[in-house]
Structures are given as C-alpha cells and as structure tokens.
Amino acid sequence: MFTHSYLGTNDVEKARTFYDATMNVLGYQGIETPIGSVYPSEGATLVVAKPANGEPHTVSNGHTLGFSAADYDAVDTWHKTGLENGGTSDGDPGFRPNSPGNMYGAYLRDPDGNKICVFTPNTGPR
C-alpha cells in the first residue's frame, strides 16, 4: 500500500531525537540526511525532514500517520518514550473501539505537532 511517508519538521535535531527514540522501540534505525532523517525498512520508509520546497513545515489538520507495533508492551513503551523525547500525548495507550477489531493503540504529537499513532491487533484483555 504505502512506500513511504514524509513528515515535515522545522527543527531537525529535535525531530531526530524524538524519532530515533520512538522508531527504535518499533525496531527501526535512523539514517541522517542533510535535511533530516530516514527510517527505512523492508516494506516502507519514514522520512522526517525539512519540507523539500524550502518553506516552513505546517501541521495538517486531519492527517494521522499510523505505525504498527508488535504487541501491547511495544505500544506502551513507544508512548512513554515519545513523552520522554519531546512528544506530547494525544491519547493514552488503550483499546480503540472505533478501530477495526478494537485494536490497542496510542497517540502522540511529535515535537513539530505532527499527529502519529501506533496500533497492534487485539489479542485479548490487557
């Protein structure tokens, strides 16, 4: 479905600190580029960098980028790690009845205000 997602930042160092920490929880390592970082995987790549057009990054209302986590503990650790690295909570870890299959997920805003979340399938009570 998705090859990559590009998220804008206005502060590469803050974004790098946040995404290096949170993507590491999910099993991904960052590679620095002149304008940000990329987090490759076999299936898809996250790019967090200054906008390519040279204009400031602006937050999209209505946009959320969702990541897959291995299990409930990974969701909890991702959320906690994000809070410790410059993120703000946009939804504590828990089951989301509006998601397909009542999945377990959590929401954060990154240091630039981008809305991100992680979800893992419902494998029973927490």
Partner: protein, 131 residues
C-alpha cells in the same frame, strides 16, 4: 512499518470518488464507510488508507512537508494512477510522471498528485535494473 494513514477531507464523498479512481488504477481494493464517523476506509496489503473529516470538527488542512507514497508495480501502473487522479479531481504537481535517475544503475519512478483537498500524494516504484 505503517498500519494506516488518515488524511483529512472537507468533502468526504468527493474524496471517495477520487480515491476509488486511484485504487481502481491499482487493480481495485476493498473499501467501506465507518458506521460511526464520516470517513472511508480502503484496505490493501493489510494496510488502511482512511479519508475523513478531522476529529476536531475543524477544517481539513494540508500540511507543508507531508507526503504519502503509494506502491505501484510499474511505471505504466503509475501513469494510470496519475491519469485516473487527474480525471477524478486531482491536481498535477511537481515534475511529470517518470523515472528520476539516482546515480549509476538505478532510478526511481515517481508521479505526484494533490487530492481534491490538497493532500500531497505520490506513486513510487524503485527501478533497480533497467532505469
């Protein structure tokens, strides 16, 4: 890596027609409307695209620096994706669809569109051998 992407729309039924056209060009995928919210789901390769009204009930607003890349299997499919998007209310942006050289022995096929709400999309295919 990604479970889903949600994009904001101020006209969800217009967006539904646009994304149906894009996915038809990729071979068609399952889609359904959320029972509880004004938003549509498309599922492909166990990943979801969701397009709907922002949860804060404000206006959907594209962000500068945000791009979503969709998988295509060939430049021909990418061209079809781009043409379908233009015919269904999308806007042509960036360079025309085609292969961008990346040093020796490779390249990347890219096609860019904005959806009717202004969200920036691209179709991408790595060209390892014949670019």
């Amino acid at each position: 890596m990604f479970s889903h992407v949600h994009l904001g729309s101020n006209d969800v039924e217009r967006a539904k027609k646009f994304y149906d056209a894009l996915f038809d060009a990729l071979g068609g995928v399952e889609s359904w409307k959320d029972d509880n919210r004004n938003r549509w789901f498309w599922m492909r390769e166990d990943r979801f695209l969701i397009v709907g009204e922002p949860l804060d009930e404000g206006q959907a607003q594209p962000g500068n620096g945000v791009t979503i890349g969709f998988t295509v299997v060939s430049p021909e499919q990418g061209d079809a994706w781009h043409a379908a998007g233009l015919a269904a209310g999308g806007t042509d942006i960036e360079d025309a669809p085609g292969i961008r050289k990346r040093g020796e022995g490779g390249g990347v096929y890219l096609a860019y569109l904005r959806d009717p709400d202004g969200n920036k999309l691209c179709a991408l295919k790595m060209m390892m051998d014949d670019a």
